[in-house]
Amino acid sequence: MIPGPIRAVVVGASAGAVEALLTILPQLPDGYPAPVLVVVHVPPDRDHALVALMDPRCRVRVKEAEDKELAEPGTVYFAPADYHLLVETEGTLALSSDELVNYSRPAIDVLFESAAHAFGPDLLAIVLTGANEDGAEGLLAVCQAGGTALVQDPASAMAATMPQAALRACPSAQIADMDGIVAALRAAGGAA
């Protein structure tokens, strides 16, 4: 169901993010062929906590995104607390301390819009559980650039608001439960 090879995956999550990501990320195989860029809404003072939690449980490498580093396949990058994460057209990561977007920094829209521009149709974007509407505009940008949009089934999400908003903004997005999201990720990475 995913067309063509992808160059990157972007993921956005808010309330309920930890459980959702603990279900998904450990199932990515070692050497997953694309970088996975993740924005989770975290308070400014909770730096590094997600990386410390996820890394020992994952087969892929998990790290905090650093400014100007090249996004490598087989690696999950988390936006640092209190910074927006963006990706440049040449595939390097960029941080910014611009104003909050949707009351949040990092914001999902900021990552998704930059990734839509950088990767166009070769992007898989996933909106997971959350209690706000961040990610909706970003997902629309992904759809308009020809990327693949995937939204967690609101019924299966701990907080339905964010997936619902994403589906309103981007009605053509595919809907999947956790198993479906894992399957889509693996399929996009070329594994069954």
């Binding site: 400014d67 963006l86 960029a94 910014s96 301390s97 900021v110």
Partner: protein, 276 residues
Amino acid sequence: MTISAPVEDIEIELLLEALNQRYHYDFRHYARASIRRRLTQARIQLGFASLSAMQEALLHDAALLPRLLNYLTVQVSEMFRDPGYFRALREQVVPHLKTYPSLKVWVAGCSNGEELYSLAILLREEGLYDRTLFYATDINPNALVAAETGIYSLDLIRRFTENHQKSGGRSSLSDYYRADHGRAVFDRTLRERVVFSDHSLVTDAVFSEMHLISCRNVLIYFDRDLQDRAVGLFRDSLVRHGFLGLGSKESLRFSAHSAAFTEFVRDEKIYLRQGA
């Protein structure tokens, strides 16, 4: 904030070129993803159908320049942002600064002044203010005016106060401002020893004999070449064993000038200028 097409990349190039040739504001080596976002925001809010249309207006109407600059440069900051940084300055850098009879401190990219006032308060608490001369620079004249005015919304003060306490503040932040119609007006004596100046890290020259340069969350907006230029300016502006403080996600690790500095407080991105 949608639409992405190669034509927009061309428009960005041309607009930045126009801005440079017409007004000598050079954003050509700024990190592109953030610039694209800010230009798109400006285009929408200033009511232009395309970046080309905005560029045409910009070339012919100088009044548009300050409005556009506000989108391209304004940084949001807060007083004592990253309290650990200020605590490290207080506990580890100040003892060295106390050995100098007079001090020069440069806040590069001072924006609306939050960091300048934080440093002025910190140095006053540490008994160094009266022997310090501050240089606060930015490329945005509007930001410099705001910094010189020193007025912030009272809504922000709670956060500033928390940060100040976490940074090891020895006084109460309320000693330094008075409330006035929902605004916090900072004490004019905090800027008695401050020189506010229009200065560009892209095109302008060094300041001399600085003991401390604080430049936080500015370099992340530059590409590698421009970062090297700015860090070279800092190197040449600092006294031997002067200090350079960067933002929490910035580092000199990949800088062309990394050999000129050593890590002084690694976790807080405070560097020490080495002797020549």
